[in-house]
Symmetry: D2
Subunit: 137 residues, 4 copies
C-alpha cells in the first residue's frame, strides 16, 4: 500500500470523531487534505448554528491528515481558529488543509473551511509537533 493510502486508512479507521460527526475524507496528498461534513440538527449550538466544536473538529481532522501525510507521527501543539460565517443545519462544509512549512520537529498548516457556495466559514492556523517515529501499519 502506498504511504498516503496507509496514512489515510490508519486515520479513517482509528479517528473516532470522523464517525461521530459523519465526516468524509475527500482527498489526501503530501502536506494537504480535504474533508467534508454534512451539518445536521445534532451538531447545533445554542444559537441553532453549527457548533464551533464541530467546525474545529472537522478542521482538526483535515490538519491531522495533512501533517501525518509524510508517514511520521505528528500531533497538534496549538491551533487557532476564526469563525467567519454562520453555518446552518442542512449545509455541507468542506475543510481544505495546506502546509505552510514542514521542519524537523514542527510544521505549520492552515485549514480553510468553506460552505456549499465556496464562501469561507472558518480559518485555522495550526502548529504540528513532529515525532521521529513512523506511523504504525
Amino acid at each position: 500500500m502506498q504511504e498516503l493510502d496507509r496514512v489515510r486508512y490508519l486515520i479513517e479507521t482509528r479517528d473516532r470523531l470522523i464517525g461521530l460527526f459523519g465526516m468524509v475524507v475527500e482527498e489526501v496528498a503530501p502536506g494537504s487534505s480535504r474533508v467534508s461534513m454534512s451539518v445536521h440538527e445534532g451538531l447545533l449550538n445554542t444559537a441553532a448554528l453549527c457548533h464551533g466544536g464541530a467546525i474545529f473538529s472537522l478542521a482538526d481532522v483535515a490538519f491531522a491528515l495533512a501533517c501525518n501525510s509524510h508517514g511520521t507521527k505528528a500531533l497538534a501543539l496549538e491551533s487557532s481558529i476564526n469563525f467567519i460565517r454562520p453555518v446552518s443545519a442542512g449545509e455541507t462544509i468542506t475543510a481544505a488543509a495546506s502546509e505552510i512549512s514542514c521542519g524537523k520537529t514542527t510544521g505549520l498548516y492552515t485549514v480553510l473551511v468553506t460552505n456549499n457556495d465556496g464562501r469561507p466559514v472558518a480559518y485555522m492556523k495550526a502548529t504540528a509537533y513532529r515525532f521521529p517515529e513512523r506511523l504504525p501499519d
Copy 2:
C-alpha cells in the same frame, strides 16, 4: 428564574454537543464556568488519545457559558488552544473558563482544562463577539 440559571438552562437544553460528548455543567457564575467530561473510547484520535476536537469542544462550551453569563448573546469570533498533556480513555477532564475583559462589543476569556490530578491538559484563549440582544427565554 435568575439570570444565570436562565442562561445555563438555555445552553444545557439547546447545545447539542453537551449531550454528544457527555459533558456535565458543574458551575456557572458571572464571567466564569466549569464543565467536565469523562473521556471514553469513542472520543479517541489515531494515537489513541483524547481527540483535540473533543477537548476543544469541552473548552468551547465552558467559554460559551462564561461569555453568555451576562444574559446577552455572545459568539466565538476566534479561539486559540494549546494542547499540553495527552489524555487517555478513562480520565475525566474539567474546563474552567474565566473572563479577562468584557467590553461593549467584544470580550476575552481563558479556559484551563485539567485532568483528574489537576494538571493542565489544554489552555484556550478565546475572543467573544457580543451582540446587544438579550438571550431568549
Copy 3:
C-alpha cells in the same frame, strides 16, 4: 488623490514604527499590501537573531495597510504569529498581507513573511475590528 494612495500616505506619515524599524511600503492594493525591512544589528534578540517583536511589527504594518485599504478605520483585535525560520542581520524580509474575509464589523487577514530566498520566516493570522468612520485626510 485616490483612496489607496490616501490610506498609504496617511499610514506612512503617521505610523512611527515604520521609521523606527526602517520599513519600506512596497505596495498597497484593496485588501492586500507588501512591506519590507532590512534587518540590522539594532533589531537582534539575545540569540543574535532578528527579534520576534521586529518581525511582528513588520507583519502588523502590512496588516494595517491591508485592513485599512478600503478607506474606513480598522484596528487589530487579535493577532497570532508563528516564527518559522530564524533571520540574521544583513537579511531583508518582506511581509505580504492578504484578505481572507471582510465583514461589516470584523475582517480576517493573513501575512506571510519571507526572506531573500522567498522562504517563509513567519506567518500571521490577524483579526481586524472595523469601525464605520472614514479614515481622516
Copy 4:
C-alpha cells in the same frame, strides 16, 4: 552569579529592542517576569495610539525572560495577542509573564499587559520551543 541574575543580565545586555523601546526589566523569577515601558510619541500608530508592535514587543521580552529563566535556551514558536484597551502617549504599561506549563521541548506562557490603573491593555499566550543547551555566560 545566580542563575536568574545570569539570564537577566544576558537578555538585558543583548536584546536590542529593550533599549530601542526603552523597556525596564522590573523582575525575573523562575517562570515569570515583569517588564514596563513608558509610551512616548515615537511609539504611536496611525490612530495616535500605542502601536501593536510596541505592545507585542514588550510582552515578547517579558515572555523571553520567563521562558529562559530556567537557564536553558528557549525561543518563541508561536504567539497570540489580544489588544483589549487603547494606550495613549504618556502612559506607562507593564507586562507580567506567567508559566502555564514547562515540558521537555515546549513551554506555555501567558503575558498580561496592564496600564497605570492596572486595567488590562493586552493579553498574550505564547508557546516556547525549549532547546537542551544552557544559555551562554
